[in-house]
């Protein structure tokens, strides 16, 4: 039976999650140098176009069709059999296509997150090939394991409400792999400062706004659970933004707006797997720990190991996603979501080890497969732009256009 309110809620949540990809574009775009902003916007936008089609042709089928434990197969390829009737195994009160398109927006933003790692130096054609392969061979299988009917991690009882493993851990690890193998940007002695911080703030605002759809929408119905996820999401983002600002204040003397928005995003990423399983107080603790750990990753670990994760895709999303998945194993409670499980703090230590196991499996799988895809694409398309193109900027060399005019 289709329920009107649930359908409205999912359609609206889908719109919100769609807006997150452009939100991310501005979040990242403001951070790069002026000569590269369009390349980032372009990568995010083309991901929206390309992966929408990928999802309908075969992505949705690979991820969600009732195939075997590892992937969904091609039963629903081209959306055959995915109609306007509900499909009860996923969501009994909304049209099947509504569920499909809601999930599509997740499949779009996940590869877009990786852009932060290789911004300012990747060739556009290589980028297209890379995200298409990555979505097919990394995102779709992992999505099936965790969320798909019959997926083996799902059967194991892994909790991932809105994508801590599927979205943030996988994208974060892929970011780490690409950034290591692609190498540093040129002339990095002076770390480039963000060319347009208001764009970063605008992007954060749109991401925060869209994240309500991401997390609360994952309840797939307009019910109490959705409200819990909504409140927990906001609480974690607020706590994380505030605590990052405090960390900077203590360590560097002044809080920065760039730090605060980074903290908020870390909080949002971290609470994602937990939002439907934990209470609001737990969400605040999750938010604070997100900022602490991501702060360490970004401002201590990164300079120490000297990888050039240009926009901290790994430091924020990878670290946040892994942390959130583990914390879900600590803070989850059946009192919040009876369909979930209790975590370590509620007397079920087993859940924590299930979460840990899932994280390890996904990290290894993502690392290996991303590496293979990277090498393949590098052989056929060459990943990195030439030195001259890099100093001229990707906007001019990859797209023959320029973001701003000088005089008029």
């Amino acid at each position: 039976m289709i329920n009107g309110a649930d359908t409205v809620f999912i359609l609206f949540s889908t719109s919100l999650v769609m807006l997150m990809t452009p939100g991310l574009a501005f979040f990242y775009g403001g951070m790069v140098r002026r000569k590269n902003i369009l390349s980032v916007l372009m990568q995010c936008f083309i991901a929206l176009c390309l992966l929408s089609l990928h999802w309908m042709f075969f992505g949705y089928s690979l991820s969600f069709a009732p195939g075997n434990v590892f992937w969904g197969g091609f039963k629903w390829a081209g959306l055959s059999g995915v109609g306007l009737e509900p499909y009860a195994a996923y969501s009994a009160t909304i049209p099947h296509q509504a569920f499909m398109i809601f999930q599509m927006m997740f499949a779009v933003i996940t590869p877009a997150l990786i852009i932060g790692a290789f911004a300012e130096r990747m060739r556009f054609s290589a980028f297209l090939a890379f995200i298409l392969l990555w979505a097919t061979f990394v995102y779709d299988p992992i999505c099936h394991w965790v969320w798909g009917e019959g997926g083996w991690l799902k059967s194991l009882g892994v909790l991932d409400f809105a994508g801590g493993i599927v979205v943030h851990t996988s994208a974060g690890i892929a970011a780490l792999v690409t950034t290591i193998f692609m190498g540093k940007r040129k002339n990095l002695e002076h770390t480039p400062s963000p060319h347009n911080l208001p764009f970063v703030v605008l992007g954060t605002a749109l991401l925060w706004f869209g994240w309500f759809g991401f997390n609360a929408g994952s309840a797939l119905a307009a019910n109490g659970l959705a409200v819990n996820a909504f409140v927990a999401t906001n609480a974690a983002a607020a706590a994380a933004g505030l605590s990052w600002a405090l960390l900077e204040w203590i360590r560097n003397g002044k809080p920065t707006v760039f730090g605060m928005v980074t903290g908020s995003i870390a909080g949002l990423a971290t609470v994602t797997p937990a939002s439907g399983f934990v209470s609001v107080m737990s969400a605040i603790i999750i938010g604070v720990s997100a900022s602490v750990l991501c702060f360490i990753a970004v401002s201590i670990t990164k300079p120490k190991f000297k990888y050039d994760d240009s926009l901290d895709a790994f430091g924020v999303h990878g670290v946040g996603g892994i942390l959130g998945t583990l914390l879900t194993g600590l803070f989850a409670s059946k009192a919040i979501n009876s369909a979930g499980a209790n975590g370590l703090f509620y007397g079920n230590y087993k859940q924590f080890f299930i979460q840990l196991f899932a994280v390890i499996v996904v990290v290894i799988y993502t690392f290996v497969v991303t590496f293979i895809i990277y090498k393949l694409v590098d052989v056929f398309f060459r990943m990195r732009v030439s030195e001259k193109d890099e100093s001229m900027g990707l906007d001019l060399t990859q797209h023959h256009e320029r973001a701003y005019t000088v005089l008029e």
């Binding site: 002339n187 001259k388 100093s391 001229m392 900027g393 060399t397 023959h400 256009e401 000088v406």
Partner: protein
């Protein structure tokens, strides 16, 4: 004293800076300008309409030097900015009558650098 004004390709700024620092020339002022060039530049495309603007984006350097630093400055700029293609830019040298360090009110050659 001389005032050196150089118009160079924007993407060569890093290298020119590098070369100037090597020659111990630190006092530089950079601004973004539009310049007329003989060269075509990268064609920009807007909604399919090709655009080759005749005013191109350039970087303008202003460097005040004492006379003995003039040649090193010119050499450094040429070394950093030269590619051999049209559009590499120009260097102009002007007489500098006076120079004042505002902090100390020192004047003349000692105020430079």
């Amino acid at each position: 004293m001389k005032l050196v004004i150089a118009i160079i390709q924007p993407y060569k700024l890093e290298e020119v800076k590098e070369e100037l620092y090597k020659s111990e020339i630190n006092l530089i002022t950079v601004s973004e300008v539009l310049g007329h060039g003989r060269q075509m530049g990268v064609t920009e495309v807007y909604r399919g309409a090709k655009e080759t603007g005749n005013l191109l984006r350039k970087m303008r350097l202003e460097i005040a030097v004492n006379d003995n630093y003039l040649e090193p400055a010119i050499k450094a700029i040429v070394k950093g900015a030269k590619t051999g293609e049209t559009g590499d830019g120009k260097i102009f040298v002007l007489e500098l009558k006076e120079c004042v360090r505002i902090r100390t009110e020192e004047r003349g050659p000692v105020a430079i650098g």
